[in-house]
């Protein structure tokens, strides 16, 4: 078997036919970054139009296409695939496995993504324009009243869903079967734990989303009336199905981010993660609760009061395990020996801003108060604090943290720090004022607004341009590192880093752990 220890194939076929978890992880990461730039470009158009009251750059219909595509591309194209890429790269290396359990499916689950997004993006050039019904695509706006391109949107969602399900099955199979001997569940790094739980969430809810879009397809083309009251259906049914997918989806996005932060904070605190076991249980509790809170997105649809109360109480409960996590991270830092390299800065940024997003989440859970917050910019501010400062910041931290291991080269630390501060400040200039305009009464998804919202909107737009520009710096830093960064040779790139991935050579060889590593039999975390 010795002569099978080969390196990558040459040329394009390396990428097209690869079954190597590192190559596939790399492709996922680059693809998601491309989508991040595309979705960001849509956001820039939105913020440019909202810079001043009045219609300046685009027409209202096109504005709605931009908000819709921005949401879809960021959620399904940028954030989700980026964490799948990270899982591909890191999970085998963290559990001492040579590769993912199902390498050919791994190739396929990546390669169906680009055509899926090509199909989605192509709707922009179709008659009637791209989907313009929001990333939540409520019926009947997305069925009876949608542009013909909705059919392409439906197929694109199906493809992305298939990709996610395959990716998740692969992760579950890998974690359950490929752990090195002695790597018990309670010794797995937290990133592996959060991804394992996330993968179960994905397998559970992606088919529900597929069901929702299939019902739409039937309503549009085959004369059914699932979501049309005129035919005996119910438009609110759509929202129940969508959010039964959509709320777990929010945790699908944030749980791997929790995992990343739980790896990085101990490394730069030079101190073990506080409360490992409680972190695992809190993650599982959040995942369970995510299935029974979906209708808190629907407080104003006219649910019976008993339903409102149930969903309000269940939603408030999420604050408990989430609080446990935040407290554990801070206790990890407490009395450590902290240093503030770029990955740690992004994690601290995450901790501060995600906590603010958590607080506004708690406020939003209060049903009667939500009557005032619902569908305003307050909600927009809230979910960008958790999605951008939560998921995107932690993903950025992950890239800086593991890039030296991946590439064998160190990124430019000063440039990384500038990237952090510009991102952090730009982000807050963008989204903090949105709390104010939301509370003051500005609805979301409007292309033009009343004059009293003008100042904060201009500020928000300026912040968005700053935040957007800072990502160019990030791209430059990553490319410069790969091309000409200072070489690193230590296996353990960061002095406080723990875990099997730091026991392999730097840069990580094409194949790692062909022979399972020996695992220290003493309990790793307790």
């Amino acid at each position: 078997m010795g002569d099978h220890h080969h390196g990558p194939a040459k040329g394009l076929s390396r990428w097209l036919f690869t079954t190597n978890h590192k190559d596939i992880g790399t492709m996922y990461l680059w693809f998601s970054f491309a989508m991040f730039i595309l979705g960001g470009a849509f956001a820039m158009i939105i913020r440019a139009e909202l810079f001043q009251p009045g219609m300046q750059l685009v027409e209202p219909g096109f504005f709605n296409q931009m908000t819709t595509l921005h949401g879809l591309v960021m959620v399904f194209g940028a954030i989700m695939p980026s964490f799948v890429g990270l899982a591909n790269w890191m999970i085998p290396m963290m559990i001492g496995a040579p590769d993912m359990a199902l390498p050919r499916m791994n190739n396929w689950s990546f390669w169906i993504l680009p055509p899926g997004f090509l199909m989605l993006a192509s709707t922009l050039f179709m008659e009637g324009g791209a989907p313009a019904f929001g990333w939540t695509f409520y019926a009947p706006l997305s069925t009876t009243y949608a542009a013909p391109s909705v059919t392409f949107f439906i197929f694109a969602i199906h493809i992305l869903g298939v990709s996610s399900i395959m990716g998740s099955i692969n992760i579950i199979a890998t974690v359950m079967n490929m752990r090195a001997p002695g790597m018990t569940y309670m010794k797995m790094p937290l990133f592996v734990w959060t991804w394992l739980i996330t993968a179960f969430l994905l397998v559970a809810v992606m088919p529900v989303l597929a069901g929702a879009v299939t019902m739409m397809l039937m309503d549009i083309h085959f004369g059914t009336s699932f979501f049309s009251a005129a035919g005996g259906g119910d438009p609110v049914l759509f929202q129940h199905i969508f959010w039964f997918f959509g709320h777990p989806e929010v945790y699908i996005i944030i749980l791997p981010a929790f995992g990343v932060v739980s790896q990085i904070i101990p490394a730069f605190s030079r101190k073990p993660l506080f409360g490992y076991a409680s972190m695992v249980y809190a993650t599982a509790a959040i995942a369970f609760l995510s299935f029974i809170v979906w209708a808190h997105h629907m407080y104003t649809v006219g649910m019976p009061v008993a339903g409102e109360l149930f969903f309000m109480y269940a939603t408030m409960l999420i604050a408990v395990p989430t609080g446990v996590k935040v407290f554990n991270w801070i206790s990890t830092m407490w009395r450590g020996a902290l240093s503030f390299e770029t990955p740690m800065l992004f994690c601290i940024g995450f901790l501060v801003l995600f906590t603010i997003g958590g607080f506004t989440g708690l406020m939003l859970s209060i049903a009667p108060a939500d009557f005032q917050y619902h569908d305003t910019y307050f909600v927009v501010a809230h979910f960008h604090y958790v999605m951008v400062a939560g998921a995107v910041f932690s993903m950025t931290a992950a890239v800086y943290y593991w890039l030296p291991k991946w590439s064998g080269r160190m990124y430019n630390e000063n440039m990384g720090k500038i990237h952090f501060w510009v991102s952090f400040i730009g982000f807050n200039i963008t989204f903090f004022p949105q709390h104010f305009v939301g509370l003051a009464g500005m609805p979301r998804r409007i292309p033009d607004y009343a004059l009293q919202f003008a100042d904060f909107n201009m500020m928000s737009s300026i912040g968005a341009f700053i935040y957007g520009a800072s990502q160019i710096l990030f791209l430059y830093n990553v490319i410069a590192t790969i091309v000409s960064g200072k070489r690193v040779t230590d296996d353990r790139v960061w002095d406080g880093a723990e875990g099997l991935e730091w026991t392999v050579a730097t840069p990580a060889p094409y194949h790692t752990f062909e022979v399972p590593p020996a695992i220290d039999p003493t309990p790793a975390h307790g």
Binding site: A229, W334, A337, T355, M363, L439, I446, D455, G526
Partner: protein, 376 residues
């Protein structure tokens, strides 16, 4: 955009942090306190939870920043190695839980209050249309009064060729009028897609869903004008369907309702009169701008809807043209306007479409033609 404005925009929120009082009236940073009892309760609940979050946040962040400042490697701090404590974990599970119970109690009572629609004196059926609201005052004797409420901000302000007025995008041609100190029940539904009817100052937000009827209520203690907007994405002009509520004294309300009823009779009478081409064109232009322009374009060039200029419908058979206007086109955004505008308005706008934008057919459609067409 002057540099000064940009500086002002940046400086504003910085001041907001220091003190909301420094602020000009233009920049509201908090929820409207509202004029109703429920509104005030919601505001108090909002502030209570906000302050609880602020206190917890200050505590959590203080610990974190203390650690960031004093537990630095660069200060030579040696890391401790503790990494678990069951007692602490139990404490920070139980304490937040108790705080949550403290929040749930007032939240529940406010919610029950907001849901209690009993004993309403006036029922108003609110129907969402793309992109306007219809209000129908339900009357026990069947003498319902109904009208549409359209955005009255002119296109010239939206497209920046004219200075924007004070109530830009928050003004309508016909507001919904309610009496003060009276429990008014709103029954909400929609004609096409889902809309949501929101007026922040009376703290009512409820979705208007086609095929279903939702309930909400208010009892406004102060006379005044309260403005709001649609808050559920409902298509291209979602941002252009405001709500304007006028709360007036009981006497004014009664007089207004009586005038509305008289109007209805007068309109029926007007339908039997014949108008000149000029009169119809003048009226038709106004109706077109309010009702048709959003989809069919300022010059009939089309947009969401088909072009009117040179259209086979506008140049062809009058009966077919009336059909489209009155019954709409199934499966498209073209609504049935027969029930939405008076017969006079319908006659005027059809005449206008047949003679404007280069469609010089010379056809005159009289209100009586519309009445006859509706009869079949």
């Amino acid at each position: 955009m002057s540099f000064g404005n940009i500086i002002r925009a940046l400086a504003g929120p910085v001041l907001a942090f220091a003190s909301a009082a420094v602020f000009g009236q233009g920049n509201q940073v908090n929820m409207a306190k509202g004029v109703t009892e429920v509104g005030a309760e919601i505001y108090d609940l909002h502030m209570l939870i906000l302050w609880i979050c602020v206190v917890i946040g200050v505590g959590v962040f203080s610990v974190m920043f203390y650690s960031i400042i004093y537990h630095r490697k660069s200060r030579g701090h040696e890391p401790a190695q503790f990494h678990e404590s069951t007692k602490v974990e139990i404490a920070w599970t139980v304490v937040p839980f108790l705080i949550l119970i403290g929040m749930a109690v007032p939240a529940t009572s406010t919610l029950l209050e907001a849901y209690n629609t009993d004993d309403a004196e006036i029922d108003i059926l609110v129907t969402g249309y793309q992109w306007k609201w219809k209000y129908e005052y339900l009357d026990e004797n069947g003498e319902n009064v109904s009208f549409f409420s359209n955005l009255s901000t002119p296109q010239s302000e939206i497209y920046n060729s004219q200075t924007k007025g004070e109530n830009y995008l928050l003004e309508v041609d016909e507001p919904v009028v309610i009496p003060v100190d009276t429990k008014v029940r709103f029954l909400l539904t929609a004609n096409d897609v889902i809309h949501s009817w929101w007026v922040p100052e009376i703290a009512v937000k409820k979705d208007a869903i086609p095929g279903f009827i939702n309930e909400a209520w208010t009892k406004v203690p102060e006379q005044g004008i309260y403005r709001g907007q649609c808050t559920e994405l409902c298509g291209a002009y979602h941002g252009f369907m405001p709500v304007e509520v006028h709360a007036v004294s009981r006497e004014e309300y009664d007089a207004w309702l009586a005038a509305k009823r008289a109007d209805k009779v007068a309109q029926a009478a007007a339908a039997s009169q014949a108008l000149s081409l000029d009169e119809l064109m003048a009226k038709g232009e106004a109706v077109y701008n309010a009702q048709c322009m959003a989809c069919h374009g300022m010059n009939g060039e089309g947009g969401v809807g088909k072009a009117i200029a040179g259209s086979p419908v506008a140049l062809g058979d009058i009966g077919r043209h009336l059909d489209v206007g009155i019954k709409g086109v199934a499966g498209t955004a073209m609504q049935a306007f027969g029930g939405q505008m008076s017969d006079v308005d319908m006659a005027a706008v059809i005449t206008y479409q047949r003679n404007a934008f280069g469609n010089n057919t010379g056809d005159i459609v009289q209100p009586s033609d519309v009445v006859n067409h509706k009869k079949g």
